[in-house]
Symmetry: C3
Subunit: 342 residues, 3 copies
C-alpha cells in the first residue's frame, strides 16, 4: 500500500549515485525481501551468502556491492547496498501519513499555533500555548500538554502523550503509546512515608530522534532531561529524570536509564540493559544486552561491557568460561589433596 | 458483577463430564476462591493441601479430583479440577463486554467493513478499508489503522493501537495499551548518524492469541512478524520485527524477543527473558526468568536453560552452587600452598 | 509556568518550622536547582559539597542544614533541607491541573457519581456506576470501567485505563498510559493448548499511591491485588494478579512482580528486578537492581539481596570478587600440579 511512485532503475541510480548494469528503464515501485519481491520491487544483497536468494527472486533489479555477480538482473552497484536500499526505500515509497488536515474532532486550544501543513488526527487534544512546526503530523488520541513545542516534519503516531512543556525538535518520530515528560521517580523519605520531590523540570528531544512504542521519558526534577540529535530509542525504553543522552546513540528495547545519568554520543545499549543512577557512559561505548551498570560508574569511551555488575567484555567472557570449568577445578583440587594425604 | 446465569451443579457436571456426588440441584452462580466464595459459588481443589481451606469455605459445591475427601459439600469429581474450574467459569459467567453497539462517537471510515454483531466503543477510530469479523468488540480509544483486519469474536480492550495493515485472527484478545504493528528498530549507520531501514512488512496474529497490557509487537521490516495460534503474551512483552512465534507458546511479562528470532511451539519463556536477534528456540524448550539467549543461538527442543548467557538448567545450578563454594576453594588452595612451602 | 503564588521567606520558614537568617521579606515564587534558579527561586543544599554551587546561584534564599555556611544568602535552617525543599515546593507551586470542569466531550454514564469539584478532561470515558471522590482530576482519554471507584483528590493523568471494578483510594496519582485491572496471566494447559483461568478478582490501590507511566497492574484471578498506602511504583512496573504490596514500599522502573507474591512494608526494589511467583518479601528488605528472586522464596526483613538467583549482598559481592580471581586460581593450581609432577 505504500507504493505510489513509479520510477526507473536509472532514475534511482542517479539519485543514489549508483552504477547501473542492465536495463536503466526498468520500472520500480517498491522495495522488498528477495522472497517477497515482485518484478517491480527493488531488492538488495549485502553479503555473498544472500546472492542465491536474490538470484531466485522475482525482482528484476538489485542493489549490490561493486564485485557481486548476479546474472539476469539489472544491477545497481554501490559501496553500501544496505544503506543505499534504505535510501531507495525512502525515495520510492510514499511517506508515512498518520493524519490528514485538521480532523474536526480534534480539540485544539485557541492559543495553540499550528504552522502550515500541520495535520491532526481524530480526537487529538492540543492544549493552550502549544506550538507545532510545519508539516508535522499528530496522530489520533495524541495529547500535547500546554506549552509543549513540536518542531517541523515530526510524526507522532496515534496515542502519544506529551506532558506540558515538552520540547521536540525537527523530524522527530514518536510511536504509539510513548509518554514524554511524565514525573521523575523522586521522593524524600519522611520518617513514616515518602513525600514527592518536585518534578518540574523540562525535557528536550533534539532533531531526528525516534522513540519506540510505549517508551517512557521523564521530565527533569529540576533542570532538564535531554536526548541528542539522531538518537534512537526502541520500544518500552525508560529514561528517567535528568538523564542526558548524546547524539546518534542507539538504545534497544526495554532498557532503562536511571536518574541523572550522562550517556555520550554514538553509544550502543543492548536490550534490557539497566543503568543505575549517576552513571557516565562515554562516547562510543557499548553495553551488552541485559548488562547492569551500578550507581555512579563510568564506562570509558570505546569500552564494551557485559554482565551485572558490568565488566569489560573480554573479562566477562574469560570468567564465564572459567566458571564453566569449576567442576574440573574442584576435582583437581580434591585429587591433589588426596595425593598429599588430606 | 459477572454473575448472570443461574445453573445447577448437575447441569454443570453434565457440561464438564464430571461425576456428581451430593445435591445435583444445587444452584450455582459464580466461581471463587474458597475464602471469597458464597454459597452459590463453585470452588475447586487441585491438591490435598487445599482441602482444609475448601472444607471451611461457604461454598457448597467443589470440583475435586477422583479420590479427594471433602465431607459436607456437593462434589463434582473430575481428572483435572483446575481445568474443569476454568471451563466452568467460562460457562457460568457472562462473557466480557467492552463495547455495546456502535457508539455514536466512534469514527468509522466509510470503507470499513463491520460484520454482524460488531461492537465499537466510544472514541474508537477505524480507518479506511478495515475489516472486522462477526461479534468482535472494539473498546474505547482503540485505533485500527487503514487496512487492518480483525477476525471474529475478538476483544480489543480500550486503547489498543493497530498500525495499518495488521491482521488478527479469531478470538484474539488484546489488552489495554498494547501496540501492534509499530515500526521495527532497524537502522543503517551512515558515517555520522543512522538512517531508517524500511519497516514496511506485515504482522499476523493467529487465532486464540492473547496479548497483555502495554505489550508491543513490531511489524516486519520486509516480510512479516507472526504469532501462532493459541500463544499467550503477558503484559509489557516486546516482540521485534520479523519474529516468528509458533503455536501455544507462553511468554511471561516484560520478556523481549529481538529481530528475526524463530520461537517454536509450546515454548515457555519466563518473565524478563531476553532473546537476542536471530535466535532459534525449538519446540517445547523452556527459558527461565531473566535468562538471556545471545545472538544467533539455538535452544534445542525440550531444553531448559537459565542465566545470561543461557546455560542448561542443570549446568547453571551446578555452577551456581560451585561459585558459592569459592571461598572454601581459595582457602583449601592456600593451605596446600602453605604445606608445599610456598 | 507552575509559579503562581508569591510568598516571603519568612512565611515559608513559618510553614516549614525553619529558622530564618537574613531577609524574612524576601519574595519567593518557585524552586529550582542552584544553576537554574532566578532571584525569587528557593534552592537547597543537603551536603557541604554543594555549597559552592549554591553560593554561585542567582537564588537569594536557600534551605540549609543547621551548621551550613553560605554567606550572602538568606538562609532557612532545618534538619532535613531536602525534605523541607520538597514541602516548600508543594506549598509554593500551584498544584498540577490535568483537567478543569467537566469537558463537554467526556462521555459520562448517567449512573456515574461525581463528587464536588471533580474535573474531567476531553474524551474521557466514565462508565456506569463509577464513583469519583471530591476534587479528583481525570485527564483526557482516561477510561474508567464500570463500577470503578476513585477516591478524593486523585490525579489521573491523560490516558489511564481502569478496567471495571478497580478501586483507588485518596490522593492516588496515576501517570499516563498506566493500565490498572487488566487480566492476570493465568491459563490451564489442556493437552493441546491453553484455556484461560478466570481473571475476575479485584484490585485495590490504597491512599497516596503513585503509579508510573505505562505501568501495568493486573486484577486478581480470584481474590484481589492490593497496593498499600504510600507505595510508589515507577514507570513500566508490572504487578501480576493477586500480589499484595504493603505500605510505603518503593519499586523502581521496569520491575516485575509475579502472581501471588506478598511484598511487605517499606520494601525497596531496584529497577528491572524480577520477583517470581509466590515469593514473600518481608518488611524493609531491599532487592538490588536486576536481581531475580526465584519462585516461592522468602527474603527476610531487613535483608539486602542481589543477583539472580538473589543472594545476600555481602555474599554476592564476595563471590563476584572471587570469580574475578579465577584466572589466578587456575594458574596457582597448575603450578602446584606441575610441582607435584602431574
Amino acid at each position: 500500500m505504500n507504493r505510489t511512485k513509479h520510477r526507473t532503475a536509472g532514475e534511482l541510480a542517479a539519485y543514489l549515485g549508483a552504477h547501473v548494469e542492465g536495463d536503466a528503464n526498468l520500472p520500480l515501485r517498491g522495495v522488498n525481501s528477495p522472497e517477497g519481491a515482485g518484478p517491480e520491487d527493488l531488492i538488495y544483497v549485502d553479503a555473498p551468502k544472500h546472492l542465491r536468494r536474490a538470484g531466485q527472486s522475482a525482482a528484476r533489479c538489485a542493489l549490490v556491492a561493486r564485485e557481486a555477480q548476479l546474472p539476469g538482473k539489472t544491477l545497481l552497484r554501490t559501496d553500501n547496498p544496505k544503506l543505499a536500499f534504505a535510501r531507495a526505500a525512502a525515495w520510492l515509497l510514499a511517506p508515512v501519513r498518520v493524519a490528514e488536515g485538521l480532523h474536526p474532532t480534534a480539540v485544539i486550544a485557541a492559543s495553540a499555533r499550528l504552522a502550515a501543513g500541520v495535520a491532526v488526527g481524530p480526537y487529538a487534544v492540543i492544549e493552550e500555548s502549544v506550538a507545532i512546526g510545519e508539516g508535522t503530523q499528530i496522530g489520533a488520541f495524541c495529547f500535547l500538554g500546554r506549552g509543549s513545542r513540536v518542531g517541523e516534519a515530526c510524526v507522532l503516531h496515534p496515542r502519544v502523550t506529551l506532558y506540558p512543556g515538552v520540547r521536540l525538535g525537527k523530524r522527530v518520530v514518536v510511536h504509539s503509546g510513548a509518554v514524554i515528560g511524565s514525573d521523575g521517580f523522586g521522593y524524600v523519605f519522611a520518617g513514616e512515608g515518602y513525600e514527592k520531590f518536585p518534578q518540574i523540570g523540562g525535557i528536550e528531544i533534539d532533531d531526528d530522534v525516534e522513540i519506540g512504542a510505549n517508551a517512557t521519558l521523564d521530565r527533569g526534577s529540576l533542570g532538564s532531561t535531554r536526548i541528542g540529535t539522531g538518537t534512537k530509542l526502541d520500544n518500552l525504553v525508560h529514561v528517567a529524570h535528568n538523564v542526558t543522552i548524546g547524539e546518534h546513540t542507539v538504545i534497544a528495547a526495554q532498557t532503562g536509564i536511571s536518574g541523572s545519568c550522562t550517556i555520550g554520543r554514538r553509544v550502543v545499549l543492548g536490550g534490557q540493559v539497566g543503568i543505575a543512577d549517576h552513571c557516565r557512559l562515554e562516547d562510543g561505548c557499548i553495553v551488552g544486552a541485559q548488562a547492569g551498570v551500578p550507581t555512579g560508574k563510568t564506562i570509558r569511551s570505546g569500552q564494551f561491557v557485559w554482565g551485572t555488575p558490568a565488566r569489560p567484555m573480554e573479562t566477562f567472557k574469560e570468567l564465564h568460561g572459567l566458571v564453566a570449568r569449576l567442576p574440573d577445578l574442584f576435582a583437581r583440587l580434591k585429587k591433589i589433596e588426596a595425593g598429599l594425604g588430606r
